[in-house]
């Protein structure tokens, strides 16, 4: 029988929160997600520490003085254990996408009809069929998700969004919580603790996808008018239906490019938020996105960008190389460049002064009776742990 060690694995998939847009999942489909969550946890907890040892004992001795993370990564690529860990990690992501797509595509007609029924004629869904997709989304399918956030197999399609929602549990082993909203809840917790009097009237979430992280913000400020902007129509349709079914009525979903939010006036938002979005953009678009955030922010307003930690000079090259894995092998191409940028300088270039900048660290806020809490543990899955840094600013001048 099983060992007697206290159980420290992922929770059962059946604890994932259900809403009206949730695809139906059979027993075996849930079991498949359970296996894949465990697979990711095993790769992070049981094999990744061995890669570090392999690096120290048999990779570094042949490459003793690397001066860049790319040299470390290329040396690791020659090591058998890193090769196998990489092949398994890539393969697990592909299995996850297939598993999630199977669930959603087999019931595509029902899901699309439900989304249509729940959003038809609703003024809180504003789509722009003429929107030109930014290059950073057109060129590659992020995290190996076929069709990305925007492809529509049929008019009114939401299956891509449903696939994202139904399987995100797998990548973090439940680390993002019951509704995959641990990031949004983390930001709310930070604001409540550090800015207890902050009472935003208008809130903008850019690159918000299906709104999983802005829902807890909208719930915390029910009188605020919340706008979730994304380029993908499927995620926006799905997001509005999902939010409504969770009793959240104060979010409008707008299809737009975060580089040019011409439809909103200067200084018209008290809070501009992005959560794990900037790393999916590009070096040319990011300054425009940051400038737009500055333009849209009202006096005394708060902008916050949530990302994994930057590659500072204090971060060992080995850690940087492992953190870069998703950039090179999980279709997150801008991840590597983005994490070496001087974000403070970029915020200053966008119009903020240095004394307006805010830096902090947050970890996912989850229901810890059922889901793993990564705030204070030793578990590390570089780049994927549900704990982040925030680069932000408070606008003091109008």
């Amino acid at each position: 029988m099983s060992n007697t060690k206290a159980y420290d694995g992922p929770p059962d998939y059946r604890n994932v929160g259900i809403h009206a847009m949730s695809p139906e999942t059979s027993h075996d489909e849930k079991a498949r997600f359970n296996f894949l969550a465990h697979m990711n946890r095993h790769l992070a907890s049981n094999i990744l520490p061995g890669i570090k040892t392999a690096y120290e004992t048999r990779v570094k001795p042949n490459n003793p003085s690397p001066n860049h993370r790319n040299q470390v990564r290329k040396a690791l690529l020659e090591d058998s254990l890193f090769q196998h860990w990489s092949a398994l990690r890539r393969g697990t992501m592909e299995l996850r996408q297939q598993a999630g797509r199977w669930v959603t595509l087999r019931q595509a007609e029902e899901l699309n009809a439900r989304a249509e029924e729940m959003t038809k004629g609703d003024p809180r869904l504003i789509l722009d069929p003429n929107l030109v997709l930014p290059n950073y989304l057109a060129k590659i399918d992020h995290h190996c998700m076929p069709g990305s956030y925007h492809d529509e197999l049929v008019p009114g399609d939401v299956t891509g969004a449903a696939n994202y929602d139904v399987g995100i549990f797998v990548t973090t082993g439940g680390g993002l919580g019951r509704y995959s909203d641990g990031g949004g809840k983390a930001v709310v917790a930070w604001v409540k603790k550090n800015r207890p009097d902050f009472a935003p009237k208008r809130i903008l979430d850019i690159g918000g996808g299906l709104g999983q992280n802005v829902v807890p913000i909208a719930q915390t400020f029910p009188d605020a008018e919340v706008v979730c902007v994304d380029t993908g129509a499927p995620v926006l349709r799905y997001g509005l239906a999902r939010a409504k079914s969770m009793g959240v009525e104060n979010i409008t979903f707008v299809q737009a490019n975060a580089e040019d939010l011409f439809m909103f006036e200067n200084g018209s938002f008290d809070w501009v938020q992005s959560t794990m979005f900037l790393h999916e953009t590009s070096v040319k678009s990011m300054p425009r996105i940051m400038k737009e955030s500055h333009r849209l922010l009202a006096k005394d307003g708060l902008v916050m960008h949530v990302e994994q930690p930057q590659y500072g000079p204090d971060m060992p090259l080995y850690e940087q190389a492992i953190r870069d894995w998703d950039a090179f092998y999980n279709n997150e191409p801008f991840w590597t460049k983005m994490h070496e940028l001087d974000l403070d300088q970029w915020m200053v270039d966008a119009g903020f002064s240095r004394d307006e900048l805010v830096h902090c660290s947050v970890a996912a806020v989850v229901d810890t009776t059922l889901f793993p809490e990564h705030a204070n543990d030793d578990y590390e899955d570089y780049g994927r742990k549900a704990a982040w840094h925030i680069i932000g600013a408070e606008k003091k001048a109008a």
Partner: protein
């Protein structure tokens, strides 16, 4: 709606972006990918069997019972621990490689045999 979306083909669609291969021989990596997909399906089967067994303890079982079964927290932990054990079993080769990393000069049985033949 008349649209027919074929999940059988589309579920396994290739994402945009060339796939990286890591192992020395591409064929080996393909076999590994197939093996892990089979491993996944065995885990699924085991979870289903576990569900049936638990239901059988109390009553006869219908397919609906299986589909709607939700383990208690303790049962879920037992099942999770089984997957951990299962992964530890099938991925043993990596564990042993890691354990051997600090013993690069670990002698082989043949080498020890030569020594013992002389001692």
């Amino acid at each position: 709606m008349t649209t027919q979306i074929d999940p059988l083909t589309l579920a396994g669609a290739k994402p945009k972006g060339k796939r990286p291969f890591f192992l020395e021989h591409k064929d080996t990596e393909k076999v590994l990918a197939v093996t892990m997909a089979v491993a996944q399906e065995l885990a699924v089967m085991r979870e289903r069997l576990d569900t049936v067994e638990r239901l059988l303890e109390t009553k006869g079982v219908t397919q609906d019972d299986i589909e709607n079964f939700k383990p208690t927290k303790a049962q879920a932990e037992q099942r999770g621990a089984w997957i951990q054990e299962y992964l530890a079993r099938i991925l043993r080769i990596y564990q042993q490689e890691i354990e051997g990393l600090d013993k690069p000069d670990d002698p082989t049985s043949e080498e020890i045999g030569h020594e013992l033949a002389q001692e």
